[in-house]
């Protein structure tokens, strides 16, 4: 139910409420899954998807029918890995082989696992994992190979981290390690998805030749989550912010949360955000390679959410105190904008880049670099959707009408337009002259009339010079002003008398 707090929030943020209503009433899925044709095991898979994913389930279920099931199963496979990796109640001796052989379990229609701790929220997925395997074996061979490959590599990567005592005790050390970790948990997902899209002919195959683009897609999402979740991860004793970064600001990681280190924490935060922000232009580049609407929505929604989350975190100390997340209203309006076309997503990125830029402070050690990163996003958008080129210089700018030797003379329309502009300019000037002239004339007449009837401007100026800007209120004040003035301008006053 809607809590009183959120009711109050949306009462004061009507635009966000509008976005929620619009999204829930107007959004039509690009494709809808046909439940009638689904068998029991597949239905069960979608139930597990709803159970384990809050944000992804919706976009996955709207995917193109060709990829609907493969991507759903891909998600469940990775979620299964994650559930094993995350569970600290599983002994490493058990965990390591499970992770490394998970790609085999994925095909084994009899394999299930009930070794998760009772508090593990996604426990049920592994308990019923045989349904996933049954569906997986029905999928096209090419898709299966991609999913297996990524699952195997991610499982091995996770096993390496799980086994690494040093990593478990001290967290991520260098920026390189940090990016490698993000590569295993997100960059690989980006690769897997891209290969699936290209295989289904729903994305430009050129994306596979630019692996840094799909890597950035994953890195951007993962880094944003790691930045936002710092408080929660700290409480769970998991350390993903690289020591190479935070050690520049504090000696112990926990010190970031001390109130006296507030400024240091914010400086450290901005360095982390900068690192993620540098990936944003490559994410836009990637999205330009997607051909099909449902796939576009699938990749664009999380990216828009991520840049909005970065903006929410930037220079926001609340992030160190509690979990923060973008409001549901913002999320809905972002989803509306991310389910149409690349230009709107670019607008989202530019809007949030400018918001970040506006909060950027010169006291921050990364001030200029953040400004450059925001500028880079804007400039990249200009390369996809130019607002100006040599041929289409903005109309009305005199650059359109330059006469360089050898250039064709102005076209008639241009000359006409120029003449009109010129006339309009002079019209404005004449009106201004008339207005100010009239005002000036009236002023002169009034002042002259006042002078004619004996107004003493010299006395008035004299009083102003002495600092009496307000008219005197009491008779005493009048007389005192008069006496000061008269003593100064005795000659004048006498002649008056």
């Amino acid at each position: 139910m809607v809590s009183a707090k959120s009711a109050l929030y949306y009462a004061t943020h009507v635009n966000e409420l509008r976005a929620i209503i619009q999204w829930t009433t107007w959004h039509n899925p690009v494709h809808e899954r046909n439940e009638a044709k689904e068998c029991e095991t597949l239905k069960e898979c979608f139930r597990l998807l709803n159970l384990t994913s809050r944000s992804f389930a919706a976009v996955i279920k709207e995917l193109h029918p060709e990829l609907l099931v493969p991507v759903c199963l891909f998600y469940l496979a990775l979620r299964g890995l994650d559930t094993i990796e995350d569970d600290m109640t599983i002994d490493i001796e058990v965990k390591e082989p499970l992770l490394r052989q998970f790609d085999v379990h994925l095909e084994d229609e009899s394999w299930t696992f009930d070794g998760n701790g009772p508090n593990e929220k996604d426990r049920e997925l592994l308990v019923k994992f045989d349904v996933v395997a049954k569906e997986f074996n029905k999928v096209k061979e090419t898709y299966r190979a991609i999913i297996k490959d990524i699952t195997k590599r991610m499982g091995n990567g996770m096993a390496d981290y799980a086994k690494n005592q040093d990593h478990n005790a001290n967290g991520v050390k260098t920026i390189k390690e940090y990016e490698l970790y993000c590569h295993y948990v997100a960059g690989l997902v980006g690769e897997g998805c891209t290969r699936l899209f290209v295989e289904a002919k729903l994305a430009n195959p050129a994306l596979l030749n630019r692996p840094e683009l799909m890597e950035s897609m994953g890195q951007f999402l993962q880094q944003t989550n790691i930045i936002r979740d710092i408080r929660e991860d700290h409480e769970d004793r998991r350390y993903f912010w690289p020591k190479e970064v935070w050690s520049k600001y504090v000696t112990e990681f926990g010190d970031l949360f001390l109130p006296e280190n507030k400024q240091k924490a914010l400086n450290c935060q901005s360095e982390m955000i900068l690192m993620a922000l540098k990936r944003a232009d490559e994410c836009l580049f990637y999205m330009a390679g997607v051909k099909e609407q449902s796939v576009f929505n699938f990749v664009a929604i999380p990216q828009s959410m991520a840049i909005a989350t970065l903006e929410l975190c930037f220079q926001n100390y609340d992030m160190f105190d509690r979990n923060i997340k973008i409001t549901k209203g913002t999320a809905c309006s972002l989803m509306m904008e991310s389910t149409q076309n690349l230009q709107l997503v670019c607008d989202v990125f530019r809007r949030y880049a400018r918001k970040i830029h506006r909060k950027n402070s010169p006291r921050d050690p990364h001030f200029l670099e953040i400004s450059i990163a925001c500028g880079k996003i804007e400039r990249f958008i200009e390369t996809i959707f130019p607002t100006q080129t040599a041929k289409t210089l903005s109309a009305g700018s005199s650059a359109t009408s330059t006469a360089v030797a050898g250039r064709p003379p102005l076209s008639e329309a241009e000359a006409e337009k120029r003449k009109e502009d010129e006339e309009a300019k002079w019209d404005v000037i004449y009106i201004m002259v008339a207005v100010f002239g009239t005002l000036g004339l009236i002023s002169i007449l009034m002042i002259g009339a006042a002078w004619f009837f004996g107004a003493r401007f010299d006395l008035a100026f004299g009083a102003l010079k002495n600092g009496n800007f307000l008219p005197p209120k009491t008779p005493q004040e009048v007389s005192s002003v008069a006496s000061v003035v008269s003593s100064k301008y005795e000659g004048a006053v006498h002649s008056e008398l």
Binding site: H357, L368, G375, R379, Q388, A390, S394, S397, S398, V404
Partner: protein, 386 residues
């Protein structure tokens, strides 16, 4: 500058003459080429000799508008290449004859003398303003934009730079001198150590206490270029011209149209456009400014123009000279002006070697050290470390 080391086997540029070699950019080119050991010999040519000359560089004084003097100098020196940076200061001078004489006549004289003395390559320092009418926005502008000069160009200085550039590029591979190759570099918003036009006036605004004001919404991106990068681009352009010259000499085919450097102009920037006031704030912060974004009072462009217009009138009526705020300043600070430098990246292999951040820190320190900032605390002058 990690890409170039003295002992690396890089083909020498031979004997290079740098005109304006004691000026802001010329000095940096001379010192960069010298540090890199890129030439067999460097001659710096200027009206005056350098206040802090670079070791191992020959300094010559001479007037580039004097054809006889230039020809005899070049015939004596027999340079392989010329980098032509000499130009009068654009800001402090309204002398049209001087601009025309130095920029157009001087350049024509140098080109002719170079051709006749058998110079192989000629790099001309143009300006990124040659495509700008001083009013319109330039958004990711590239070299396909037309030159703006004559009546359409309010800045006469820019007209003369554009005319000189046209002449230099037209002199590439002419029928009479087919082995004389030319290129033009168009830097945008140069700043750095030794700078008098950008950082010192910017810093003065800080010492006058103007850091809490902002004109416009500060969403306009602007390109600035650290001076070492501009020098680096000249080095690359010259090396490319000489390489083409050598290809011609050894009978190889000419470079293709999309890769040729000769006869071409190149925009050069730091490849990182920033919001105009962010650059200024970084400069101020480097000098110690503590202003927070929340303390800044933003004046919209229209209000700024109105105030500037009123001030210009008042100052004009009472003959008070130049006001603190002019319409041109308002327009410049609210203008978007950045360039697409893909051409320089692809054909010259250009990448900035000094970042904006580092460049600003160095440049600000240097400006205060030299004591050229109006209103600066004079105890910073001549002080090495702050």
């Amino acid at each position: 500058m990690a890409t170039f080391k003295k002992d690396e086997k890089v083909k020498s540029l031979g004997h290079v003459v740098v005109t304006g070699g004691s000026g802001f950019l010329g000095h940096h080119i001379v010192s960069l080429l010298s540090t890199r050991g890129a030439c067999t010999k460097i001659t710096a040519l200027d009206l005056r000799t350098d206040a802090n000359p670079v070791d191992g560089v020959q300094y010559e004084t001479g007037d580039i508008t004097n054809y006889d003097a230039m020809l005899s100098l070049f015939q004596t020196l027999k340079p392989d290449a010329v980098i032509h940076t000499a130009s009068p200061h654009a800001m402090n001078n309204k002398n049209h004859d001087l601009f025309y004489n130095v920029n157009v006549n001087g350049t024509k004289t140098l080109v002719r003398a170079s051709q006749e003395a058998g110079v192989k390559a000629f790099v001309y320092t143009s300006s990124a303003s040659v495509i700008h009418d001083t009013v319109s926005d330039l958004v990711n502008a590239d070299e396909t934009y037309p030159l703006i000069m004559g009546d359409d160009q309010p800045e006469y200085y820019t007209t003369t730079k554009a005319q000189a550039e046209l002449h230099v590029l037209a002199s590439n591979r002419t029928a009479s001198h087919p082995n004389f190759l030319t290129a033009a570099v168009r830097p945008s918003g140069m700043f750095g150590e030794g700078d008098v036009q950008l950082l010192p006036p910017g810093l003065s605004a800080y010492y006058r206490g103007q850091t809490k004001f902002q004109l416009g919404n500060n969403e306009n991106l602007f390109d600035f270029t650290e001076i070492t990068n501009v020098a680096h681009a000249h080095h690359l352009a010259l090396a490319a011209l000489l390489a083409s010259h050598d290809r011609d000499a050894s009978g190889l085919a000419r470079p293709l149209d999309h890769e040729k450097v000769d006869g071409e102009a190149f925009f050069i920037t730091n490849d990182s456009p920033v919001y105009f006031f962010d650059f200024a704030r970084m400069v101020w912060a480097a000098a110690g400014d503590q202003t927070q974004p929340s303390q800044v009072w933003a004046i919209s462009k229209d209000i700024g123009l109105l105030i500037a217009t009123l001030m210009e009138w008042i100052f004009w009526i009472f003959r008070l000279g130049k006001p603190n705020l002019t319409r041109q300043q308002v327009k410049y600070t609210c203008m978007t002006r950045y360039y697409n430098i893909d051409k320089a990246k692809k054909r010259l292999g250009y990448r900035p070697v000094v970042g904006l951040d580092e460049g600003i820190r160095r440049g600000v320190k240097d400006a205060l050290y030299r004591g050229v900032v109006v209103g600066q605390p004079m105890d910073l002058k001549g002080k090495k470390e702050q």
